[in-house]
């Protein structure tokens, strides 16, 4: 399919570029001020389905255009650019503010804190616009929070698609889940498969 970029698509696959959505931990994605609980998950999909609204879209509550989207990743990612497809009739978001690696932000936090980066958005009904990030600040992102404080005058804010372009590292940001401390550790209790074949072992 033609992607309407000013390059020929044989060079690279546009879908593959916007592939960071596969590294999103969808079960833990959440949003504040969404009209339908859970509808935020429908916003993360492959690029070629960005205009597909069969599974619903993210809409804010009536009369309140603010939206806050929390996106955790399954491993640390580096985000190069972000694309947002909004609704028509003034329901597209007009500003976007991003926070990195912060849990549990709510609206008062988001309004008071300084974001890592913020953008003025244009109406992007076809999903062709992308907003570059200051790449050096978006290395090692474990979770991303996007705050959309305002829209173009509509009663609600509608978002059909959020695309993220970048790379995924295989590192995980979270530290150890459980630690067992032993007073007198015995290495033979902790044999792994790798050790089983090694020449040296400790008694």
């Amino acid at each position: 399919m033609s992607c309407l970029h000013d390059h020929s698509c044989e060079d690279h696959n546009c879908s593959a570029d916007w592939s960071l959505h596969t590294h999103i931990d969808l079960s833990k994605v959440s949003a504040l001020n969404e009209a339908v609980a859970g509808s935020v998950k429908s916003v993360f999909k492959p690029w070629n389905r960005r205009l597909d609204t069969s599974e619903g879209f993210l809409e804010s509550n009536d009369g309140d255009p603010e939206l806050l989207v929390f996106i955790p990743f399954t491993s640390d990612v580096k985000i190069k650019s972000i694309s947002v497809v909004g609704g028509s009739g003034g329901t597209s978001p007009s500003k976007m503010r991003a926070f990195i690696n912060r849990d549990g932000i709510d609206f008062s936090d988001a309004q008071n804190m300084q974001p890592v980066q913020e953008w003025d958005l244009n109406e992007n009904l076809q999903g062709l616009l992308e907003y570059q990030t200051r790449y050096s600040r978006f290395q090692g992102v474990g979770n991303l929070t996007l705050h959309f404080p305002d829209n173009f005058g509509g009663d609600t804010t509608q978002i059909y698609y959020i695309g993220l372009k970048g790379e995924a590292t295989q590192l995980k940001r979270d530290v150890v889940a459980t630690i067992v401390y032993e007073i007198t550790p015995n290495p033979s209790d902790h044999k792994t498969r790798a050790d089983a074949g090694s020449l040296a072992h400790v008694e």
Binding site: L32, N33, A37, N61, D64, E66, D106, F107
Partner: protein, 406 residues
């Protein structure tokens, strides 16, 4: 089992001195709060509950959200009453306390006890509600105490503004004999969003109401397992005994049926009643068609054929039903003695003619519950009935003695 952090807002204004809820409004509120804390912590051990007061010198947080029940119960003692309740400030402080909860995975919930009159406008309350909804905080309101006009409406609009997917509830409790906590137990405030604390709620209901709600025998198995077990076993034994008695009654009814095939209206009604009851009882015994039953059936049929007047056979059936149920040999002996004393040929021949009518017999058998008309032993018996009736008629002319053995 939803993971939740809850803030309970207590109304300790002057209006709480009133005694229309026993023993006083404040005490009823404290009891209800105790129960709620217990229910929340029981439904999920990681739930936390915090408490703040809305009246007095100002909104004061007594306990930040914690899962330590003792701390919560302790802080409810020694509370003093104060001026007026400040609902908006109370809710905002509760929201702030929830925002700083330690486990961000918990959902946020505020429970407000609104006993004093509400002086705020509907619009203010609606704005507060929308703000709560925006931050996905659920709200439960207990409307009790003062009920000036408009208070219920205002609180309803507040809860409607917060409500997102049925997570917020409002309960109106009017003063009466029931304690505040009893009324609350049955509401969704207690049972979470339909799950969770219902087990605890049932236990609490049983304990406080002293009634049988929620448990089979009015005894909480958690509190007294041995007593509950003993009660259950005795109930089962009683049930088994009743089933055995009912089974006997069913057999008796079926024998009476065969004995009384004359169209006597009174007997018909009694038989139909007996059939009904036996049908009801024997429905689940349909699988229990044993050989014993078939044998008894045959005996009964033979008895009615060879025996004396049907009425006497009936009576003897009734007398002997208990015995026959237990001891087929005894039944046989009794039957023999009955047949020897028989003497009425007219009724007998009438009976035999009726019985000869194969279709009639089979229709009767079909109508009996627990009888499978395709049972081969039954079919053999029916075939032999024909022969037997002829031979017996001949014998009747010869001698009064009969051989009723089948």
């Amino acid at each position: 089992m939803v993971l939740e952090a809850t803030m309970i807002c207590i109304d300790n204004s002057e209006w709480m001195r009133n005694g229309d809820y026993s023993p006083s409004r404040f005490q009823a509120q404290a009891d209800a709060i105790n129960l709620i804390c217990g229910a929340k912590t029981q439904s999920n051990p990681e739930n936390t509950v915090g408490v703040l007061t809305m009246a007095g010198k100002g909104v004061r947080v007594l306990v930040t959200p914690t899962s330590d029940l003792g701390k919560i119960l302790a802080c409810l003692h020694g509370l003093d009453f104060g001026c007026e309740m400040n609902l908006t400030a109370g809710i905002q402080v509760a929201q702030l306390a929830l925002k700083h909860r330690q486990n961000k995975k918990q959902k946020q919930r505020i429970i407000v006890f609104a006993g004093s009159p509400i002086t705020y406008e509907k619009k203010t309350l609606e704005a507060i509600g929308r703000k709560l909804k925006k931050n996905s905080v659920a709200l439960d309101v207990v409307d009790f105490g003062e009920s000036d006009d408009g208070k219920a409406e205002k609180l309803e609009t507040l809860v409607a503004a917060v409500n997102n997917n049925d997570n917020s509830h409002i309960v109106h409790v009017s003063p009466g004999p029931n304690a505040l906590s009893d009324v609350l137990i049955s509401t969704p405030i207690f049972s979470g969003d339909g799950e969770g604390g219902s087990g605890f709620a049932a236990a609490a209901a049983a304990a406080s109401a002293g009634g049988v709600s929620g448990f089979d025998f009015g005894v909480d198995p958690n509190l007294d397992p041995e007593l509950a077990l003993a009660l259950r076993i005795s109930m089962e034994e009683e049930r088994a005994r009743q089933e055995a008695a009912a089974k006997k009654a069913a057999e008796e009814a079926s024998k009476e049926e065969k004995g009384g095939e004359q169209a006597s209206s009174s007997r018909d009604t009694t038989m139909s009643e007996a059939v009904n009851t036996s049908a009801v009882i024997a429905d689940d015994k349909r699988q229990n068609l044993t050989d014993v039953e078939a044998a008894l059936l045959e005996q009964a049929l033979a008895m009615s054929m060879d025996g004396a007047k049907s009425s006497s056979v009936d009576m003897i059936d009734a007398d002997m039903s208990d015995a026959t149920a237990e001891d087929p040999e005894l039944a046989y002996a009794l039957k023999m003695s009955v047949q020897e004393s028989a003497g009425d040929s007219s009724t007998h021949s009438g009976m035999s003619k009726v019985l000869e009518d194969q279709s009639f017999v089979s229709s009767v058998l079909n109508s009996l519950p627990g009888v499978d008309p395709n049972d081969p032993s039954l079919k053999d018996f029916l075939a032999s009935l024909q022969d037997q009736s002829e031979t017996q008629q001949k014998r009747k002319e010869d001698s009064p003695e009969k051989d009723g053995d089948k």
